[in-house]
Amino acid sequence: MPIVIFELPDGTQRKVTADSGTVLMQAAVSNGVDGIVAECGGNASCATCHVYVDERHGELVGPPNDVEDEMLDFTAAERRPTSRLSCQVQVSDALDGLVVHIPEEQV
């Protein structure tokens, strides 16, 4: 199972095991990673699961889907080139070692 690293705004890192077949948001929530609010439970309704994929892994994770792309214009923290909604990122073995950064604000 892939290991994913969430980096908090203060620089601390949380290493968690993510289950293939789930989404990145679930890995954060089920491990109690602070800063991923996920109000809508992964429903692409709230944009409170925003993350910045580390630049090194941008290509591995890929671009947002259409609905997500539009939503990313209205997240609480600024949008960046590697912004994603973590509930829309499928976990697979290829993501082992992935680093994502958690923005300052979600709501």
Partner: protein, 416 residues
Amino acid sequence: MSAAGVVVVGGGQAGFSVVQALRGAGYEGPVTVFADEPRLPYQRPPLSKKAHTEPEGLGVDLVPESFYRERDIDLRLGEYVAALDTAACAVTTGSGERVPYEHLVLATGARNRPLPVPGAELAGIHALRSLDDALTIGRALSTARDVVVVGGGFIGLELAQVARARGARVTVVELADRLLSRAVSPQLQEHLRERHERDGIRILTGTAVERIEGKGGQVHQVVTGQGPLPADLVVYGIGATPRDELAREAGLAVDDGVIVDEQLRSVSDPRVFAVGDCARHPHPHADGLIRLESVQNAMDQGALVGRRIAGGAAGPYESLPWFWSDQGPVKLQIAGLRASTDEVRVVPGDSDTLERLAAYAFRDERLVAVETLNWPAEHLAARRLLQQDPPVSPTDLAGSTLGALARARRTKEVRA
């Protein structure tokens, strides 16, 4: 100082949010959560939007058990709080244990209104509130062919789409003349009705259920003002009432919910807070006190109370209300409070198919609520703009969407 600590009654969305915020804000005293359901606290929204026969299939736990353990939160699953003694600052559990508190948070949620018709006790008739209810309905849908949904509100329409997707013939029976009659604007009510009918769901509005008849103890047909409907499964969602009896019996002010002030403290006792579905509270966007049943309200109220008890700065409760409902292919989202608006303008998000729509509701020339269908970006833009000054006027929106307006205002900010 405080060996008694914080006691939270109710382990749902709001109770969870309280303890998450307490520990997040550095509260170090004892924290006890009484959650009468025998399983880990979970989310309710997926229950009416997916049908499953296994709890794992729904994947709804808010957080795993380790979350509570690592934060030294005493989560008492399957334990019910039976009484509250505000003079002694203690609660009594169903098994007679007395637990003292320094701060008490009531997060007891709501219960479904029972179906007030003869025959409602027959087998095959279900309401939906808990995970167990959802599993029962999920199993029943494996064999059900004729499903009658009583109530054309959010939960009824979500379940109607779930049942339809499982291949059943589905009829929704609604007493009011329109679907979602209080919740959304008339323009969207009509649109939603057409949408559901296009998916093969039969909708009878202005129709009362008179009685339910069975064969061998099992539901057989639903008799309505428009005649009988065959049914091997009946699900109903006709509203909920707050679980405020603990507060009422303890002598706290209650009126269809525990009455709290802008800090979410009981107006009768500053040591008692109430949050989520069970609280009736003031809100800057409402005329009087309101009670909301939504995840946003439960999460934000819980977080405010958790931070306040932990001593973190927190002003009055004024979060913008928002809500979503997934009805099969339709994602409905609402931002703001729609009550007493005087103009509603419907704007298509795509010119030909009308799959995406927004309804802007104005009051005294300012935007107060926005409903969207299949248009989450517009919903998010609405949430930003409804919280900004200056308020959005009808003129601002002439020929524009909120998305465009929000982008334009953001660019202006950056330039300024």
